[in-house]
């Protein structure tokens, strides 16, 4: 197996607010191989965005990485100084955000916003950068690319703006692309187009992708591997087929159960499991999912379960995998075929 491109170990990030410390990320670990698409899924507030923002040093000023490491090609992103981090951002690591309506600067042409990224990281002339921007617009299939460089964001539809964002993120051939809910704000048909484009670009350019989403349908179609996050932690991690065929964590099972049928292709948003996520200012000592878990036991409230490796590359953070736990069908006891 190849060397990981990114290796995150025990990442912890908190926000310090007037109402106390918000423990947004509480010990997240994962690995990403070159060219791999890793999906991160979870309810709102589970820490998906903050995990990625922590890696690039993009936290708001009240946020701080408390602990952990994040080796990217052998360099620890969390130890880099501002200058070195700036060198990586937009160059080795590109990023796309959720709302294309607000993530582009309304007072600059889209061309300028792409060109300035290229000029920041490449020693080439402005004309060459413009040429490169035109090629990128063609790559993401913006019609009449050269002309459209001179347009302002408000002259584009949401889908077209997201294409501009993608062009911008890919402008310096990043090894890693982080896409934080790139389609959530778009219409269903546009969503499919953008996802198809992302998949196509990934297979053509070969960069690794972290794809954050609420949408299990998107994960099923796009990702190679999945992280399920809850309460600032990874609850389950598995290759994508395995995750859908044999989910091992009660939370994942709840998420999947809330989707009528994945195969009919309708992209269902997660319908929440009854109850609400934990207060991250006072995270519970035990399993964060315990108050909402149908299988919760006395042990679950007392201590945080470790991640059990239920299969090769498949981990699940649940006490039910403990040898002495009661048998629950489908979790620690195979469903009869």
């Amino acid at each position: 197996m190849s060397q990981p491109l990114l290796s995150v170990r025990d990442l912890r990030t908190s926000f310090f607010t007037s109402r106390g410390e918000v423990q947004a990320v509480r010990g997240v670990s994962f690995e990403l191989r070159p060219g791999e698409i890793l999906g991160i899924v979870g309810e709102s507030g589970s820490g998906k965005s903050i995990t990625c923002m922590s890696l690039l040093g993009l936290l708001k000023s009240n946020g701080k990485v408390i602990a952990g490491s994040a080796l990217f090609e052998g360099e620890d992103l969390l130890q880099l100084d501002d200058r070195d981090l700036r060198r990586l951002r937009g160059d080795e690591i590109g990023m796309i955000f959720q709302d294309p309506m607000t993530s582009l600067n309304p007072t600059l042409t889209v061309g300028e916003q792409v060109i300035e990224t290229i000029l920041r990281h490449r020693r080439i002339s402005r004309a060459a950068a413009r040429q490169r921007a035109t090629e990128l617009f063609e790559l993401v299939r913006i019609p009449s690319a050269a002309k459209r460089l001179r347009s302002y964001p408000h002259e584009f539809s949401g889908g077209m703006r997201q294409r501009v964002m993608i062009a911008m993120a890919l402008s310096c051939d990043p090894k890693l692309l982080i896409a934080d809910e790139p389609t959530t704000a778009l219409d269903v048909t546009i969503q499919r187009q953008i996802l198809a484009l992302l998949r196509e670009l990934q297979s053509r350019l070969g960069m690794a992708v972290i794809l954050i989403t609420h949408d299990l349908g998107v994960i099923a179609e796009t990702a190679d591997r999945v992280l399920v996050m809850y309460g600032g932690m990874v609850m389950e991690e598995a290759p994508v087929r395995r995750m859908f065929a044999r989910p091992s964590h009660p939370y994942t099972r709840g998420l999947l159960a809330s989707i009528p049928d994945l195969r009919d292709g309708t992209h269902q948003r997660l319908t929440p499991i009854p109850g609400s996520p934990p207060d991250m200012r006072r995270p519970p000592a035990g399993c964060p999912f315990a108050p909402r878990c149908r299988n919760a036991m006395a042990q679950c409230v007392k201590a945080l379960p470790p991640i059990y490796e239920v299969d090769a590359g498949h981990g699940s953070r649940c006490w039910l995998h403990h040898a002495e736990a009661p048998r629950v069908e489908g979790i620690n006891e195979l469903v009869p075929a």
Binding site: L58, R89, G90, M95, L104, T117
Partner: protein, 308 residues
């Protein structure tokens, strides 16, 4: 774009026309006249004056005459200063008013905006607190109070600057300070809140995620957007600095238009009051027009909306 500019210009003319009409009839609705003062005038003198200034004509004839005058940039004769036209009164006061006003504007922009930026970038730290305390005082205390207090300390007690007049270059300090104090504070507060708001925008995170340097992010992505609201108020600010200076001109005894305006009111110099009012209105409208054009350059979204 051209259509929009033309449309704006036409609208300006209509507005100005409405203001002229309104001013004219309001002035004529006011009882009493310029020559009705304490001592009674002989009827024959009164008649002669009325004839000289066409005060006996029907009011609509007077109105049309007045309009005809304005169309040729002639605001008519002063009622009070024999042999002097309102144009001459304005021309006499304008250089002083303009000099003080432009200096004040330079202070407003070159102090207000940077102070706001420093405050925003140091949010909740001491530079911010300091700027905000001063700016709050500056907005809350009326300019004539600032003027009087400053006059007392710097001119009377310390003798650093003259108490009145502009013969000495140091004479500009206090009037300019008193005139711009409010607006420096106002612009500092506006620039601060606007920049703070801009810093929270998603596209600022995008700019950072692209690896841009802090200076590029602040100046290229942050300032331009956050200065849009500042530019918007700059038109009224300029107009206010020019027209609103009559209190300051009074206090420092500066021979500007504002001083003439106050004098013309106490003298019931009707044509002068009307003329200066219309002049003020025209200045205000031109300033707002210029700012709107500037706005068009700064914010491409406007162009788009107006073009449709």
């Amino acid at each position: 774009m051209t259509a929009y500019v033309l449309q704006r210009l036409a609208l300006m003319l209509v507005t100005l026309f409405a203001i002229i009409t309104l001013t004219f009839f309001l002035m004529h609705a006011v009882p009493g006249g310029p020559f009705v003062s304490d001592k009674m005038m002989a009827p024959e003198i009164q008649a002669a004056i009325n004839a000289k200034y066409h005060l006996d004509d029907p009011i609509w004839v007077q109105y049309l005459n007045y309009l005809r005058g304005i169309a040729t940039f002639d605001l008519g004769p002063s009622f009070k200063y024999a042999g002097m036209s309102v144009n001459e009164i304005i021309a006499q006061g304008l250089p002083t008013t303009l000099k003080v006003g432009v200096l004040a504007l330079i202070c407003v922009v070159s102090l207000g905006v940077p102070l706001g930026i420093v405050a925003a970038l140091n949010r909740n730290r001491w530079p911010d607190t300091l700027v905000m305390v001063i700016a709050t005082i500056g907005v809350a205390v009326p300019s004539y109070v600032i003027a009087t207090v400053a006059l007392y300390f710097f001119a009377l007690r310390l003798g650093w600057v003259p108490t009145f007049g502009l013969d000495d270059w140091r004479g500009y300090f206090l009037p300019v300070f008193a005139l711009s104090g409010f607006w420096i504070s106002f612009i500092a507060r506006l620039a601060r809140s606007s920049l703070l708001e801009t810093l929270q925008m998603d596209y600022m995170t995008t700019a950072k995620a692209k690896g841009l340097k802090p200076g590029q992010i602040l100046f290229k992505h942050g300032l331009r957007n956050s200065l849009i609201p500042v530019v918007t108020v700059l038109g009224p600010v300029v107009a206010n600095l020019i027209t609103g200076s009559f209190v300051i001109e009074q206090i420092f005894a500066l021979p500007g238009i504002g001083r003439h305006f106050v004098l013309s009111i106490t003298n019931r110099d009707y044509t002068a009051i009307m003329g200066i009012t219309i002049f003020y209105a025209a200045v205000l409208m031109v300033m707002i027009f210029i700012v709107d054009m500037l706005y068009l350059v700064l914010d491409p979204r406007i162009k788009y909306r107006e073009a449709r």
